[in-house]
């Protein structure tokens, strides 16, 4: 493997990591503030993608679709929060797992009902098609955009939490849920807001990634599991942790996919090596997670809890 | 350092613990002797709870050693120390609310009446176990309440039960973290008498804010300020120790009359 290729694969790993971060950031934010495990986060990701695809198809503008996707997911988020999630904050994690598991079923089938069961068309806007030369390698513009957006989101969240009044309240919420009452904040409004933000992030991720991958029912679930791996590695509730965790997972997974098969070719015939290697590669991130939790049971950057 | 010839049951030597810059436990050395109640006093934030946590084993010291009956237990877990005979009661009650009084005590008896890895015999029909538990319950005078869920007990009764749970371990010593806290006059009276009656078989390390109780019960007192032992000695000595007065002047939890009247 040439140096250029190695570098490109590393970049791919980072880029994949950023995709995961877009998804994980909302998840970890929601957990950090409300202490809620939201299995339905993947479904919000899916809703975002479908709305984006629908609006893009309607208006012909991907950018409108992107906005619509984020807003649509946020709106769905608010609905879900007010109708269901709200009643779960004071329940144990078990009830939360169960209720949000039920939400997955409802949202998936609901989406199929509204938009039909066939995958929807959603493509990268033509300006962003094609690739650019980055020194030794050629890299797709759109993927660079995703990296940029990811960085912006990370920055935005950092500012929101550290600079704004709401952020101050959010941190208060993280530190202790009673104190926030003392701050005279309407807690349920704050929670709804935070949930909406998380949902919007999921929607944004769904729209951006949907354009690159595919928009279909059930697209959220594999991503959800990965996002959970990410935030658990990073330390649940910590945005910083989510970022680092996402990068770790992205890079480990990508390099594993690339390197393991070629590694096994040293002592196996190619197709067997390809098969065994990729099998091992698919287990790799879970192995990573297990190891990290074995050493640091609360993840790399435990949020104050 | 000891001014008594009775042999020691627990010894703490040069214990250190710090959180970042804060020295919570700073070169603490003390000793608990058979047949005595040793009170550990000090203003809020003096590091009493940190010290207790290290003695109980829920917190590992940075340096120093803890001996129980001349055996080094510094590295043992909470459970292991309990089995070795270190009974503990908590500042904030740590009972299993939905379970009955007897159930709460039986858990403690379990550890000393055999292994907990018995999967067959029903505890209800485990005579030895129940007897052991009831003995402890009786000592704290709750026998008539044995089947009542803890959630229905009064605050005072819960305190007594805490002690009962500790006693069920047949401990070599008791570690009591503010047993009097929030007790009414009657309650603390009853508990004081209980401890009085206990101390002969079971020496007690007592952490207490209620100075009446301290001076009534304690044979020996150590004063902890900013993680350091600033004074140590018999109740009388401490009562007159200027350092202690200074440490406590204005400190709300010790009212001045205690110090004047003599």
């Amino acid at each position: 493997m040439t140096l250029a290729l190695a570098f490109e694969q590393l970049l791919n790993g980072i880029q994949f990591g950023v995709m995961l971060f877009l998804m994980a950031s909302g998840l970890t934010l929601i957990f950090g503030v409300m202490g809620l495990i939201n299995l339905a986060h993947g479904s919000l990701y899916m809703v975002g993608a479908f709305v984006c695809a629908y609006v893009t198809g309607l208006t012909g503008s991907f950018w409108l679709g992107l906005v619509a996707g984020s807003l649509g997911a946020a709106l769905m988020g608010v609905m879900v929060e007010v109708l269901v999630i709200r009643r779960l904050y004071h329940r144990d994690h078990l009830d939360q797992v169960l209720a949000t598991f039920a939400l997955i079923l409802i949202l998936s089938e609901g989406t199929a009902w509204v938009f039909g069961s066939q995958p929807l068309w959603l493509d990268i806007p033509s300006i962003l098609k094609g690739s650019v030369e980055l020194g030794v390698l050629i890299y797709p513009v759109y993927r660079i955009l995703i990296i940029v957006v990811g960085v912006l989101v990370a920055l935005g969240l950092y500012l929101l939490i550290s600079r704004t009044r709401i952020g101050m309240r959010i941190r208060a919420g993280e530190n202790d849920r009673e104190m926030i009452g003392a701050l005279g904040v309407n807690i349920s409004v704050l929670y709804t807001f935070v949930f909406a933000v998380g949902a919007a992030l999921a929607g944004l991720a769904g729209s951006l990634v949907g354009a690159l991958q595919s928009v279909e029912v059930g697209m959220g679930e594999p991503v959800l599991i990965l996002a959970f791996v990410v935030i658990v590695i990073g330390g649940i509730g910590s945005i910083k942790g989510a970022l680092i965790g996402a990068m770790l997972v992205g890079i480990v997974d990508t390099l594993g996919r690339v390197l393991l098969p070629s590694l096994f070719q040293w002592f196996m015939e190619p197709s067997a090596a390809a098969s065994v290697g990729s099998a091992l590669a698919s287990m790799l991130i879970y192995l990573l997670m297990a190891i990290i939790l074995a050493i640091k049971p609360k993840g790399l950057f435990p949020a104050n809890d | 350092m000891t001014d008594s010839t009775t042999d020691s049951i627990m010894r703490i030597e040069k214990l250190y613990k710090s959180f970042g810059a804060l020295k919570a436990t700073d070169d603490v050395t003390l000793e608990l002797r058979k047949g005595e109640i040793h009170a550990l006093i000090g203003p809020n934030g003096a590091g009493k709870s940190t010290l207790i946590a290290q003695i109980a084993g829920s917190l590992k010291p940075d340096a120093g050693k803890i001996f129980l009956d001349d055996e080094d237990i510094t590295q043992l877990s909470v459970a292991a120390r309990a089995v070795k005979g270190l009974g503990r009661c908590f500042q904030v009650s740590s009972l299993a609310m939905p379970l009955s009084v007897r159930r709460n005590v039986m858990i403690a008896s379990q550890a000393i009446t055999g292994s907990s890895f018995r999967f067959w015999k029903a505890v209800e029909s485990d005579k030895a176990l129940i007897a052991a538990a009831d003995e402890a319950i009786d000592m704290v005078g709750l026998l008539d309440r044995a089947n009542v869920p803890v959630s229905n007990l009064s605050h005072g009764e819960r305190r007594q039960l805490e002690v009962g749970c500790a006693l069920a371990l047949k401990p070599k010593l008791l570690l009591l973290d503010e047993p009097m806290a929030g007790l009414g006059a009657g309650g603390s009276e009853r508990l004081t008498m209980l401890l009085e009656s206990l101390k002969l078989e079971i020496p007690i390390l007592l952490i207490e804010h209620d100075m009446d109780a301290v001076f009534r019960l304690a044979d020996y007192i150590s004063v902890l300020v900013y993680g350091q032992i600033v004074a140590q000695g018999s109740a009388e000595k401490i009562r007159h120790n200027p350092l202690v007065r200074e440490a406590y002047l204005g400190a709300s939890d010790l009212d001045a009359t205690d110090l004047k009247d003599d």
């Binding site: 039920a102 658990v232 287990m283 939790l293 | 292991a80 609310m97 379970l99 890895f117 067959w120 029903a122």
Partner: protein, 336 residues
């Protein structure tokens, strides 16, 4: 993550709850008998399916309900049990050796111990690491391990990979004909009763008392001189073994095993069934399994959108029927 319901403090509702339990047992055993008389063999197999899934949940309930350990990875043990049975059946049918050295058998009584043993070893490994974590982390790390095993099963090309492994001939039981639906049901029913009885015994024992305390108040347990970690670890392993037992039966019932038996969806379903029936209630899993499987089956009959309605029903239960179905029927909601 623990809720303080233990059948111990339900005394006033005990009698009523045990009535409900009794009714459930009678119903579940009568259904297939009557079905056989009416020559409706389908309902016999459906009952076996219910029983087996209930048993998987009984296993999880031991860790989750009585020990407060929310394992999101129990499908792994379910699948392990299934694969042991499947691989044994495969080799004994082909007349080949496992890994080319171990002779296979089609005797359930020989297969089950192996399944339990394998599950125990894996559960021990997973538990030793996972139990160092708590709360959400425990939920997620168990999920991670299950996913690992899931992908491993997909890569098992010798045993069909994602296509799974079909069991041409159901493994046989010492007496009777395991291919006879009613007789196979009876085997499953016996297994369920056994696992319920063991659970009951263990919960009542010294170990159970310690486990209950580990769930209600870990500090109390430690100060009482008992290591919560080791208590939990043992409970986790036992729970995994029960679920694996169910998995072995499931493989024989369906006549095949495949990775979907280990998918995280399945883990979710087992949790759903436990909660649906009532966490920490001995017969909860049975009520849960009956409700879940019947919903799955008959909603599917009414509409293609059955999963939507399944979701709504589950949501309703979490939000409004705390204490699960047993709680509902026995009239005692669980104390949050």
């Amino acid at each position: 993550m623990t809720n303080s319901n233990v059948s111990l403090n339900q005394s006033r509702n005990m009698s009523r709850e045990s009535w409900v339990n009794g009714f459930l047992l009678v119903a579940i055993v009568l259904a297939p008998v009557i079905a056989t008389m009416m020559d409706e063999v389908y309902y016999v197999n459906l009952s076996s399916r219910i029983i087996i899934i209930a048993m998987a949940a009984v296993g999880l309930n031991f860790a989750l309900g009585f020990g407060g350990m929310v394992s999101f990875g129990h499908a792994a043990f379910f699948g392990l049990g299934g694969y042991v049975a499947g691989i044994a059946a495969y080799h004994s049918f082909e007349g080949t050796l496992f890994l080319g050295l171990v002779p296979a058998t089609d005797q359930m009584l020989l297969i089950w111990p192996v399944a339990l043993f394998v599950a125990a070893i894996i559960a021990l490994l997973i538990g030793v690491i996972s139990l160092r974590t708590q709360g959400v982390y425990f939920i997620m790390i168990t999920l991670a391990f299950a996913q690992m095993i899931y992908y491993f099963s997909i890569s098992l090309t010798t045993y069909g990979g994602e296509d799974g492994l079909s069991i041409i001939l159901r493994n046989s039981f010492v007496v009777g004909d395991s291919n006879n639906p009613l007789q196979f049901f009876m085997v499953c029913f016996a297994a369920l009763i056994l696992s319920l009885w063991l659970t009951h015994k263990m919960v009542g024992s010294r170990f159970g008392a310690a486990l209950t305390m580990a769930k209600l108040n870990e500090t109390r347990l430690a100060t009482a001189g008992i290591e919560p970690y080791s208590i939990r670890l043992v409970a986790f392993v036992v729970s995994a073994m029960i679920t694996a037992f169910a998995g072995a039966l499931f493989a024989d019932l369906n006549g095949f095993v495949d990775p979907s038996m280990l998918s995280w969806h399945r883990s979710g379903e087992i949790i759903v069934i436990v909660v649906l029936g009532g966490v920490g209630r001995l017969f909860g899993p049975i009520a849960g399994a009956i409700a879940f499987v019947l919903l799955e089956t008959f909603l599917g009959g009414f509409t293609d959108r059955w999963q939507l309605f399944l979701g709504l029903v589950l949501l309703g239960v979490v939000l409004f029927a705390r204490g699960g179905l047993i709680g509902l029927m026995a009239g005692s909601s669980r104390h949050g």
